[in-house]
Structures are given as structure tokens and as C-alpha cells.
């Protein structure tokens, strides 16, 4: 299998699709992000791990501006994120996000959950939106749940609907914020399988997760964060085989140890 991301990186010609330059963020007195520098290439799969409170969620939430950074620059797909609402919405059209708590719209059916974005933000007709929704519902293997409400589905099914909802916007980048942390163990693999298939389709992905099996399978780059800093960033072989810092070693021991 050829790897577009590392090919592009070694050739040094493709521009990054996500770029964070010296990004800092504070919540009141607490500094959540410290001088974050990051570049993600088109097609690259970045997996971010680290202890809770390390800033990994905050970092990816800055990429689609669910959090506002206070200094530094964030450029996504050529658009710089600033206070301009037009830029923010342009970026959000290209960046899908999957949340730990699914955040499906409980008052809408599965199909309506999927159609609302294309209809309202992409200005598609109802028929077009429906066609697209059915396509992506098929892609996450639950076409038969189309007319149910989220509360009638299992956690794993809900998370797959959430993934499909993002995909219906046909984004260029997908962000995953601990997508399996709220799931019962037996449902984790169905969600990871869908994510793996998505990775194989060439999607640019940034995943915050502690599922190291998944990370080893799909990641081009592994990243370890602690206390608001990027402590280590390497390809999976180096990252798992030969972590440089003690903090990272200890963390990996803890989560791989059981």
C-alpha cells in the first residue's frame, strides 16, 4: 500500500492541510495549550494520545473553532481561522467532527440527522440530501436504521450515525475526539472498523484516542501530549518501539500494560 502522506512528506512538496503555528490557549489562568506547532498533510492520519487534561481535545477543538485560540495561527485548507464568521463557517464545511458523546440531534430521525447539514449548509435539495444520507448510512453499515430516532439505537450505532452525519458534508478532514470512550467494550470495534475503512479511503484524519491497536493500524504519525505541550511526535514504529521521553514511555506502559 502506498502512503500518500509520507510520500508527500519525503518529497517535501505538498502543503499541509492543517497548520498550527505557535498556538496558545488559556482557560482563565490555566494554560491549556502551550506553543503548539503542528502540520498535517492531505491524506495523513494523525493519532493524538496523552493523559486527560493534557490539551489533546482542546487542540483538535481549535481546528474547527469550537475553541478559540488566543495567540498563534491556525490555517485549515488555506483558510486562516480568526474572528471572521465567514472563514469559520468555510472551515467547518471542510472539517467534520465526531464527539465522545455522539451529540446526535435527539428530536430528528437518523436520516434527518444526516440530511440537515447538506440541506442547510450545503444548500442541497431534500432529494439530493436524502440520496447522500442513504449513501453514507450504507457506508457505516446501518441503512436499516434510517427512520429510527437516536434513542432507539445502541451506543455503537449512534456513533456510526454521528460519523455518517459528518461525512454527509463531504469534508476533507475528519476530527475524532475520543470517539470510543463512551462506548461499552463490545461496541468499540464496530466504530473502529468504520474509522479504519474511512482511513483506507484516503481521508485526512486527526484522532484523539487511546485505542492503540487502531493507532498502530492506521496512524502515519503518532503524537503524545502532556500538560498542554506536544511532547513527542513520530511515526508509529519509532513512537511505540523507541519513545524518546520518559513521560511518553510511562504513559505507553500504562495504557498498553492492560
Amino acid at each position: 500500500m502506498t502512503d500518500p502522506a509520507s510520500d508527500a512528506r519525503s518529497a517535501g512538496r505538498t502543503a499541509p492541510i492543517i497548520e498550527l503555528i505557535d498556538v496558545n490557549k488559556w482557560f482563565e489562568d490555566f494554560q491549556a495549550l502551550k506553543d503548539i506547532n503542528l502540520a498535517v498533510l492531505p491524506g495523513e492520519k494523525l493519532v493524538v494520545c496523552g493523559p486527560s487534561g493534557s490539551g489533546k481535545s482542546t487542540m483538535i477543538r481549535c481546528i474547527n473553532r469550537l475553541e478559540r485560540h488566543q495567540s498563534g495561527r491556525i490555517i485549515v485548507d488555506g483558510t486562516e481561522l480568526d474572528d471572521d464568521e465567514k472563514n469559520i463557517r468555510a472551515v467547518r464545511q471542510e472539517v467534520g467532527m465526531v464527539f465522545q458523546q455522539f451529540n446526535l440531534f435527539p428530536h430528528l430521525t437518523v436520516l434527518e440527522n444526516l440530511m440537515i447539514g447538506p440541506q442547510r449548509a450545503r444548500k442541497m435539495t431534500k432529494a439530493q440530501a436524502r440520496e447522500r444520507a442513504e449513501l453514507y448510512l450504507e457506508r457505516v453499515h446501518i441503512p436499516e436504521q434510517a427512520d429510527k430516532y437516536p434513542s432507539q439505537l445502541s451506543g455503537g450505532q449512534q456513533q456510526r450515525v454521528a460519523i455518517a452525519r459528518s461525512l454527509c458534508m463531504e469534508p476533507r478532514i475528519m476530527l475524532f475526539d475520543e470517539p470510543t470512550s463512551a462506548l461499552d467494550p463490545e461496541m468499540i470495534s464496530e466504530v473502529l472498523d468504520v474509522m479504519t475503512e474511512l482511513a483506507e479511503s484516503g481521508m485526512t484524519m486527526v484522532c484523539v484516542t487511546h485505542e492503540m491497536g487502531f493507532a498502530k493500524r492506521v496512524a502515519d504519525t503518532m503524537m503524545f501530549m502532556d500538560a498542554g505541550e506536544i511532547v513527542e511526535s513520530a511515526n508509529p514504529e519509532t513512537f511505540f518501539g523507541n519513545p524518546r521521553t520518559e513521560r511518553c514511555q510511562r504513559f505507553l506502559q500504562q495504557i498498553l500494560g492492560h
Binding site: L66, V95, N103, Y149, A162
Partner: protein, 255 residues
């Protein structure tokens, strides 16, 4: 439409008390002839009283529709991060809800035409006063309802690039309204009762008609008893309707 259990109990109690009142009417203290459907004048009086229902309903329903819209428009700035918008919301709510409804009615009917140089009829003065008074409460109800929606709903809407208006219209408000429906029902009941105050400026609603009939017939006990029954029946029907709507919206989510 099936009525909920406690509603049926209420109706039974109502029927029993009605019978009690009518029976006691056989004694000399009562003079039910004044509204007896058996006589021509009694029937006319009864129809005159019930005729006020139309205006009570029209007044309350128009007013509550306006106050819901105004309340929502006042609630939204209150949820903003902007301090000026927040201040507007607080000022409006605190000032409007400090004004007694009766005073508001008098001020709108007698005062407003003098400063605004407009002609305002009894009906619209009543609607305006009721709607203004109620809008402050609606604003608080909406604010609480919208605030009760989980932050994740906004984030999910934003992540698929929905605009603020679309997020409110399709995601937040449908869920918020479902939650505040009992409170909105309360406000409607409250409004139906408070519309009786508009009688002071001459609106021909239920209370005004009862007052007028009392003046000509001198049978205040019977006529005001009928008035109470009119409000009671009206409000029982309205709250049964609201409960039916609540149940319907609950089953909408399939759980």
C-alpha cells in the same frame, strides 16, 4: 381524545359541585331564573354571558402569540456573550414584570395614545398590555429552556457548519420548546384569567358581560357563579389540550 385520569376526577368534582349549587338554588337565597334556559329572558342572559367567551379567547390567544414571539426575541440576546445585549434582556425583563397587569392595561389604553399620538381600540389596547406583561415571563421561560439544552448540541450543529439561525430553528428551539411546553401551558391559563382585567376598559369579554348583567339584574351570586364555571370549563379544556400535546410530542421521539 382520552382524558388523563386526574382530569376525569376533576370533571367529576366539577359536575358534583355544579349539582350541589343547582340543588341549593331551590332555596330562597338563589334566583337561578336570571340565567334559566327555560325562560326567554333567562336564555338571553345566558347567551349574553357565554358570548363573551369569543372575546376572552381572542384576546388571550392573540396576546399569547405575540408574547411568545416577543419573549423569544428578548430571550435570545440574554443568552449572548455580549454585555450590552445581556443588559437589554435584564432591563426588559425586570422592568416589565414589575408592572402590575391592571396598571399596564390602564397605561396602554389611557396613557399611550397621548404620548404616541395614536388611536388604539379597546381590543388592541388589551392585547398589547397583556402581551407586554406576559412577554417578560415568556422571555425567562425561553431562556431557561434554551439553557437546558446540552452544549454538545450546539457543537454538533456548528461542526456541520449550520448558521446561528439554522441552529436555533432546527436544533435548539424544537428541543427547548418541547421542554418548556408545560410552562407555556401555564402561561396560557394565566393569560386566560388575566384577560378578565381588560374588562375595566370596556372589553366585552366574559367578566365585563357578567358585570353588566349584574348591574341590570341585581343577581350577583348567580351571575358570578356562572362566570366562575365559564372560566373553569375553559381552562380545564385548555389544560387537557396542552397535556395531550405534551404526550404527542413525547411519543414523537420514539422512546
Amino acid at each position: 381524545m382520552r382524558l388523563a385520569g386526574h382530569h376525569r376526577t376533576l370533571f367529576k368534582m366539577l359536575a358534583l359541585s355544579l349539582i350541589a349549587v343547582l340543588l341549593s338554588g331551590c332555596s330562597n337565597n338563589w334566583g337561578w331564573y336570571v340565567v334559566s334556559p327555560m325562560t326567554k329572558s333567562g336564555m338571553n342572559n345566558l347567551l349574553f354571558l357565554i358570548g363573551g367567551l369569543k372575546y376572552t379567547l381572542l384576546l388571550s390567544v392573540t396576546a399569547i402569540m405575540i408574547s411568545v414571539v416577543v419573549g423569544l426575541l428578548v430571550a435570545l440576546p440574554g443568552l449572548s456573550e455580549n454585555r450590552a445585549l445581556k443588559l437589554f434582556n435584564r432591563t426588559y425583563v425586570e422592568c416589565i414584570r414589575a408592572i402590575p397587569i391592571l396598571v399596564m392595561i390602564l397605561w396602554v389604553y389611557y396613557g399611550l395614545p397621548q404620548i404616541a399620538d395614536i388611536q388604539i381600540g379597546v381590543f388592541w389596547a388589551g392585547v398589547l398590555a397583556l402581551a407586554l406583561s406576559d412577554s417578560a415571563f415568556q422571555a425567562e421561560i425561553f431562556r431557561a429552556g434554551i439553557q437546558s439544552i446540552h452544549r454538545g448540541q450546539y457543537e454538533a450543529a456548528r461542526s456541520i457548519s449550520l448558521s446561528y439561525t439554522d441552529t436555533m430553528r432546527f436544533i435548539i428551539l424544537p428541543q427547548a420548546i418541547k421542554r418548556i411546553l408545560p410552562a407555556l401551558g401555564n402561561q396560557l391559563v394565566y393569560m386566560l384569567k388575566m384577560s378578565s382585567l381588560v374588562s375595566v376598559i370596556g372589553m366585552q369579554e366574559l367578566t365585563r358581560r357578567a358585570n353588566e348583567l349584574v348591574v341590570t339584574e341585581y343577581r350577583s351570586l348567580e351571575i358570578y357563579t356562572i362566570l366562575i364555571v365559564e372560566y373553569l370549563v375553559l381552562i380545564l379544556i385548555v389544560s387537557a389540550g396542552v397535556r395531550w400535546l405534551e404526550r404527542r410530542m413525547r411519543t414523537d421521539e420514539g422512546s
